[in-house]
Every structure is written in C-alpha cells, then in structure tokens.
C-alpha cells in the first residue's frame, strides 16, 4: 500500500529549508514586505497580525512565485512583493477557514478564533485580504490584482460549494475535484502564473507554469485530505479529523462509498452520519481494505506527474529542479 512516508515536522522543515536554498533571499524579502505592509498603529490589530504571522509555515505559495520566476529566467523586484501578496491571501483564507471549521489549533498554537473569538478572526481575514490587494496594486500593472482577484473568488466559490455539500454522502468525485480546484489549486496556480509572467515568459510558458501550480495544488489537497484521516496531530500541529466532524467528504471517503463492499459502505455511512470521536480510527481499515486509500493516493501521484511534466517547457536550472522536488515533497510531507 502506498501512503505518506510520515516525515516528521522537524525533518519536513529541514527538507524544505534545503530545497528553498536558491530562493532564501527572496523569501526573506517577502517576509519583510509581509510584516511591513500589515503594520498597524492599533495595538490590538497589531497583536492579531503578529499572531497570524506565526501561521506561516511552509511558505509553499511564496516559494512557487519565486521559483517559477527563477525557472523562467528572472527573479526581479516584483517577485518578493507578489510572494508576500499570495501568502497574505493564503493566511486570510486560513484565518477564515479556522472560523468555518471551528478549529482551535494551527501550527501548534491557538487559532485567532480560539484566542479572540470569531468576530476579530473574520475582520482579521478581511484586513489581510484588503492589504494583499493594496500591496498587489503597488506594482506597475493591474494584472496582478486582476488575476489574484479571480483566483480568490475561485477559492471562495470552492469553499462555498464545500459548505453546500457538507453532509451530502452522495457527493461525486467530479464535484469534489471542482471544490478542491477552487479552494486550493486556484491559488497555487496563480502563484506560478504570476511568477512566470513577471519573469517576462511568453504566454505558452506562463500557461504551463500555471498548469504546474494547478496540479501541485491538487496533489497537495488530496494529500491533505488523506492526512486529515491518517495524520498525527503532533506532527501536523493542527486539529485533525475535522473533515469527518464537519461531514466534508474527501476523495478516499467518496471512493469507498462508490466502490466499497455493501457492508463496508453501510458501516462508513453510519460512521459519517454519527461523526463519533472514534470515526477516524474506525474508517481507516475500511478505506485501506477497499482500496479507496490507494486510489486517492494514485490520483495525487497522477497530479504530481502532470505537474512535473509541465516543467518540460523550461530549460534545466536549479529552480526547475526544486520545482520538481517540491511536487514530490507534497506526497512525502506529514504536516
């Protein structure tokens, strides 16, 4: 059976640190811009901003902006700005997601909603969104705002579809694909699109880089959904099993309900409707025995392969190598 190798958080962090060596300076600059843009004279607002600054974990999206820029031949002043913009949008969605999911822990710390309540968390997310557009509008053209606006409303559409289908045990794989294409892949895709475009790449190259970002995002989300069932809370540093609690159907579950033996399907439906504390543990063998876990994993793997083959359009470079490794990393990570 293929499943996450279970890299632990520390190993995972080190692996990324090594991978991101060629873009260290760009990431540091993006971080500086992120902090600078969000500064508030209001101590209460600053405390909220500082708290969610700690949410920044893997910095995958800023890395995608910088790496695709490098792979397309140029990392210039716009890249760290765009890297900060996409990280700000991503952080805003995390803050609002935690409100939606009633999550209490993220990156080993209390979420904003757990610490201050839902209202400041909703407003903090809005504050991050508006700052990200303000920052994106500091660039020469309206293109970044336009593309990011589009990606962000795709994210929201994906989230709203997911909410709409909560508790729908008949959710099919095509709809699931649409949901995660919006809620996750839209932002990784636009990160790569922006990185390539701002390196002066021609349209065909920009499109392939966008495809790379899309497939990495899809693989990442499927892996995330698998981790929500198999992960270790200590390693991931966040609440797990929330998909089950919230009756959000993910790929392994959808597959089990589609192809499982009748008895297994009945048992799974009962567990999903009940949302019991031990649902996770009891679903695991059903998902493994039915081949549903393998299936989800093979779909994630297929996205990784399509991501890697999209890289064919750019010449060999250390950046291209890192992009290829990042796609693989998505399946190895444990957090």
């Amino acid at each position: 059976m293929i499943r996450p190798s279970g890299l632990q958080a520390e190993e995972s962090r080190r692996a990324l640190g090594r991978l991101f060596a060629p873009i260290q300076a760009g990431l540091a600059e993006a971080e500086r811009i992120f902090q600078e843009e969000l500064k508030s004279r209001q101590p209460f607002v600053q405390a909220l901003v500082d708290h969610c600054g700690d949410y920044q974990g893997k910095r995958l999206r800023p890395a995608l902006v910088l790496l695709t820029g490098g792979a397309c031949g140029r990392i210039d002043d716009a890249h760290p700005v765009l890297a900060a913009v996409v990280e700000m949008i991503h952080t805003a969605t995390l803050v609002h997601d935690d409100v939606l999911d009633e999550s209490l822990v993220r990156r080993h710390a209390a979420t904003v909603n757990a610490e201050w309540g839902n209202e400041p968390a909703v407003m903090l997310g809005d504050y991050l969104f508006s700052h990200s557009y303000h920052l994106a509008a500091s660039l020469d053209s309206t293109l970044a705002c336009r593309w990011i606006g589009k990606a962000t409303h795709e994210v929201c559409e994906g989230e709203m579809m997911q909410l709409h289908h909560r508790g729908n045990l008949d959710l099919d794989e095509a709809t699931y694909t649409q949901i995660i294409a919006g809620k996750t892949a839209a932002l990784t895709a636009v990160s790569c699109r922006l990185g390539a475009h701002h390196a002066g790449a021609e349209a065909a190259v920009v499109a392939e880089m966008e495809a790379y970002g899309y497939h990495v995002g899809m693989a990442f989300q499927i892996a995330d959904d698998v981790l929500d069932i198999w992960g270790d809370e200590r390693a991931t540093g966040k609440s797990l099993g929330t998909d089950l609690e919230k009756q959000k159907l993910t790929l392994p579950i959808i597959r089990l309900l589609e192809i499982g033996e009748p008895a297994a399907v009945d048992e799974a439906r009962r567990l999903l409707q009940g949302a019991r504390a031990d649902s996770r543990r009891r679903l695991q063998p059903l998902l493994e025995e039915s081949g549903a876990l393998d299936y989800a994993w093979s779909q994630a793997r297929a996205h990784v392969e399509r991501a890697v083959s999209a890289l064919d359009i750019v010449p060999a470079s250390p950046y291209k190598e890192v992009l290829a490794e990042m796609a693989e990393y998505v399946l190895r990570r444990s957090s």
Copy 2:
C-alpha cells in the same frame, strides 16, 4: 430638541429617487455591472449573491462616485465600474457585519447568516471582496485597487477597534471618532476621491471631494448610532438596539457617561452592563435629559456643515446641488 424628522422608509426612498435623477443612467449601469461581475455557475453561490443583491438599499456610495464625477466635470466609463466596486465592498462589509452582530434582519429580509448560517456568510463576504478588486483591476491604472485596498483595511481596523472596545464603558469620544472614521467614513471618502480623480480633477479638488465624503460618512454614522436607539424597526428594516446588546458604546452614550448627573450615569452603566431587552427604552429619557442626544446631533450637524463647505471648490452644477442635499438628507433619514 433636534432629532431625526422621522421620514418614513417610502418617503425616504422617494426623496433619494428624486435626488438621484441626474445620475439614474449611471446607477443603472453600475447595477448591471454589479450583477454581471458576481455571476456564478454554481447555483448555490448564485443564490447567495442574489440574496445579498437585495441588500442594496440607498446606494449612497455608488451615488457619491457618480455625483463627485459629475461635480468635477465628467462622468465617464470608469465611474459606473467604480460605483459597482464600492457598492460590492460595502455589501461585503454588511454581510460580515451581520455575522459579527448576529443580526437576523436587514432591509426587511433575513440576513445571509440567518438564512444559511455563518460559514456561507463569511465566504460570501470574501467572494464579494475578491470580485470588487477583480473589477477594480479592469480599469487602466492600479490606483483604484490601491486606494480601495487602503480604505478597506481602514474599515477593518475600525471594526477591530470597535470589537476590542466592546463592553468598555470608559470608551472616550476620540477613540469613538477613530472607530467610525475607519468603519464608515473611509469608504465614503474613497468613493468621492475616486469619483473626482477619474473626472480628471486636480489634486486640491480631489482632496476637498474626499473631505466631503469623509464628513458625510461621519455624519451618517452618528445618525445611524442615534437611529439604533431611537429608530423604528419597521422603518429601518433591520434589527435595532444591537449596539446596546453588543455593548458597543456610541456617541450619545459616551456623552451621557461623560457629562450626565451621577444618578443618571449610574443607571446608564447598570443598563449597559445588563443589556436588558428594555435598555433602549429606559436609556432614551436619560440621553434626552442630559443633553447627550442633542450633543450627538450637533456633532452630526457639524460634519454636515463641513461636508457642504468642502463643495465650495467646485462650480455650481446640478451634481453639486445633489451632493449638498445628500449631506442634509443624512440627518433626515429614518432608515
């Protein structure tokens, strides 16, 4: 005693319809753009969008964009786009405000949170925000995105400060002023700034139009706070008394606590802490007798006067006349 003349909703609507006659075409075009931009292929998302489309009531902010454009000599194609953008931002803040305030009714209809729950309401607000920037980025320059980004984060900062000071019976007038300058006046100010700038007005004129928008916004919010205590729920079409329930101190209350007789102050503090169902009714005589209501009203009146005097910089025109009347209308409205 000076107080709202109590125009009823229907009169109020007619009064605005008459006022806005010179910009009818622009408002209709803004409305078309608003609907077009928000279209979704997802029926669930479209249902949410359609519902909040009904929130659009007075269209004060789009009217400000168009009227300042006209008063500065030109309403061109950018104006209805910007009018739709500011209305979208405003609608997003209403949707999120209703989540924050747990409001159940707006414009005589159930709020999104009341009808579908908080989660879709949070996402719908985000969807409106991202579309507004997407739309703003369809214009020639990044300026609109930049200014609107700044105004929106001022709105959020104002809201976060207000949340932070909830239940703080020692809130002073200066802090209250900062809060409403952010949560309300930032968006009316930027509406006028954009309208004037896109009419090709020179910097000094743009600054005065922005000042007009700022003072109209301040007057509007103070009047709104007064209506929350004195208004008629049937006329306003929304839940009232929410400021008291949520222990948000507004100008009449702040003034009462500052200058009231000790017995009145004690009684007011007790009512504010208890948040009883009849708090509104019992606070009214205290606010009237202490002169706190008159004071709040005189502050609103002063903002209206400063708004009107900011109009001196533009030549006489039907648009200028409407802007002057709108400033006055802010104090006459009952909803």
